[in-house]
């Protein structure tokens, strides 16, 4: 666990040490320039101190060579930092394909978590080590931000949208979760813990959890109870499009545009159906804004993602 007076955070994910490495690189470059310039300033100020009241400085107007030098060196260093930072960012932005999916929904002022098996928890997040975890984030009210310092990852939870982040925990332990985007009164109370466990312990924990069905099963149930099924059938007799294989496909819209059906598209199709109307269909789908919670929405999406056309 954390000591009582730490000066450096624990590194408990696969990217943590990479982030730290970049940090130390920039720190070293910065320290070099900060010390160099400060030392020169003080040295000159002392060495060339005014000896009598009427003295003036030597007239030196500048030097193009020097100017170029101190444009180019910082520029090159800054570009190194840019590329390094960007490649790290791309790693952080692209979850591996085999990642396990966990849904997290922020609401004032708690984090609601749903595991693939349907187990839920609040403000805690149990994860196995050594396995990539992809978090799909939603928000029920205002902006929040899911931040796990020991993993060096954070992502905003944006109302009206789904966002994702991922990590692979590497060390068993308990780590802070903070809400890092200001969200009102209890912002600093919107905290929790990640509990990183050995995979078998995680399985045991998941097995012991009470569930009301997996996310997909819940989604399937909602698909019926919310009457989606009355319009979205598995044959063309429905008034809405067939949803099999829709996830990941390219959808033609009425206004001639095309979109790739990712999670955010599915979300928008349900919450704000008029925004993007599928070609050759009428804009008759009702909005489910207000009737579906953010969690139910994630379950529906999980279910729709599993729908496959019969071969």
């Amino acid at each position: 666990m954390q000591s009582t007076f730490p000066l450096f955070p624990q590194a408990a994910s696969s990217v943590a040490s990479e982030v730290d490495l970049l940090y130390f690189f920039i720190l070293a470059v910065s320290a070099f320039f900060a010390i160099l310039v400060s030392a020169l300033v003080v040295f000159f100020a002392v060495k060339y101190r005014r000896r009598h009241p009427d003295e003036v400085g030597h007239d030196i107007h500048g030097s193009i060579a020097l100017e170029l030098l101190w444009c180019v060196i910082p520029f090159v260093l800054a570009m190194v930092m840019f590329f390094w930072g960007a490649s790290l960012y791309f790693t952080l932005a692209r979850p591996p394909a085999d990642a396990m999916d966990i849904f997290v929904v922020g609401k004032q002022w708690m984090w609601k978590v749903q595991h693939p098996s349907g187990v839920r928890e609040i403000n805690e997040l149990h994860v196995p080590i050594g396995r990539p975890v992809r978090i799909t984030l939603g928000s029920e009210d205002v902006l929040h931000d899911y931040y796990i310092p020991a993993f060096r990852v954070k992502m905003d939870a944006v109302p009206g949208k789904l966002t994702t982040m991922w990590f692979t925990a590497t060390k068993v332990g308990t780590y802070h979760i903070f809400c890092a985007e200001y969200c009102g009164t209890q912002h600093s109370g919107m905290i929790g813990q990640v509990i990183a466990m050995e995979p078998q312990d995680y399985e045991a924990w998941i097995g012991g959890g009470r569930t009301t069905g997996t996310a997909v099963e819940n989604g399937e149930r909602l698909f019926t109870t919310m009457a989606c099924i009355t319009c979205h059938k598995t044959d063309t007799s429905g008034r809405g499009p067939i949803l099999s294989d829709v996830f990941g496909s390219t959808v033609d819209l009425q206004d001639g545009r095309q979109v790739v059906a990712d999670e955010n598209y599915l979300r928008e199709s349900i919450m704000n159906p008029q925004a993007k109307v599928v070609r050759e269909f009428q804009p008759i789908m009702p909005t489910f804004q207000g009737t579906l919670s953010e969690e139910n929405l994630l379950q529906l999406i999980a279910y729709i993602k599993t729908l496959k056309a019969p071969q």
Partner: protein
Amino acid sequence: MNHAVNEPRSYLDAPYGVASWLLTKDHKRIALLYLISITVFFLIGALFAAGIRAELMTPEGDLFTADMYNKLFTLHGVVMVFFFLIPSIPATLGNFLVPIMCGAKDLAFPKINLLSWYLYLIGATLTLGAVFMGGVDTGWTFYTPYSSMASNTNVTLAAVGVFIAGFSSILTGFNFVVTIHRMRAPGLTWFRMPLFLWAMYATSLVMILGTPVVAITLLMVGAEAALGFGIFDPRVGGDPVLFQHLFWFYSHPAVYIMILPGMGVISELVAAVSRKQIFGYSFVAYSSLAIAIIGFLVWGHHMFVSSQSIYAGLVFSIITMIVAVPSAVKTFNWTATLYRGSITWESPTYWVIGFIGLFLVGGLTGLFLGAMGLDVHLHDTYFVVAHFHYIMVGGGVMAFLGGVHFWWPKMTGRTYPETLGKISAVLVFVGFNLTFLPQFVVGYLGMPRRYHAYPEEFQILNVVSTGGASVLGIGYLLIIGYLVASMFKPRNATANPWGATGLEWDIPSPPTTFNFEIDPVVTEDAYNYAGRAQKTGDN
């Protein structure tokens, strides 16, 4: 004292009376009106900061309620940014010096200048009104949808206040641009201008181009809150991230409104304390413009984890890294100017050295935040709080205070005790570092900003920070104390106490109402110390 009958009176004396001040069109008096007002707002903002730091002495949220704490940091940010730092240098030193440095009798539009002060006051009063009606708790960033829907406080009133104050900056910027274009004395070509004028020119461009955007954005928040238009709130079909784009489109350049004038002041001070032409004058001048222009293209670096497209993020990151270069160029040029100078150890030098030290840390830590993969960890932690305080307070406020110390004799005709000037510079420098260095550490540890309560392991660093803030506070109070005290002493400043070049030093301290008895003609470059070496014997 026997005044010759026809000797023109100083601007402070002619004429007397409250009305003559409140209706003045003299840029120098308006500068003083601003100086008094922003000092009041600085003290208010500092009081809020004291509240924040006191709360953070202990991990539990025990001193204030969470709501109260949220209002404290919101008001601290709003007051410090919009009512202190943005007007600080431009509206005080800028108002005082721009016409004089141009060799003009006043700004191009003296009445508009007065109007800008009144707009500032109206805006500030409305925002303070929001405080008394229960406060605002959105953070100075007013992020939606919290600010437009969830927050139950007086956001609209505060936003209207900021909106109106925005017009005062636009008018000031407009006045400066016209003055610099049209009213320079004969012979004062662009490349003979003091670098302070270049900096004010660049700042004015940012004010004119950027401020309308924030004004419109705040109007949209108001329209959404009051009329229910769906702009930023997803429940009514809006997009919360759009607000962030609009907000930062102004507010990042606003950071340059806060720091460019400081760079201008430091350029003047570096030349004067080393009695030397600025090394690489044209590079320093152009770098101001470069910063002002490129600064408009980096706003997305505040949004690397906001769900903005990762490709947009790439563009913002690379431009952010590029904008670091002109800042580095300036720093190197100031340093090089000291080489073989004749450096005084009077109080302005202390402020210059303090500025360079703190600005270096502020600028360099910006690189950490511009590197996207690292910013994911650092975003919205105390690392960011420390970074922007190094820029805005370490850079902006140090430069402002340096400028005030340097031009005080000119503005008031009084000198202050040199020793106190030095002691306060050292106190502010030490106190500042004690306050904000630990915040880099606690930020990398992961402590998020805007936290009322925090885990115990962050306490020691926070206690150090609060201790440092007390030292810093003493430093600031000391300055206000001896500067105010000097006003009650007889006028004792000579026309050119530092032996500096520049049109402002060729006229009496304090200047007469129309600045120049004879319209000046400029025949030399700025900072022509070597050329003037023979002539300076009057101190």
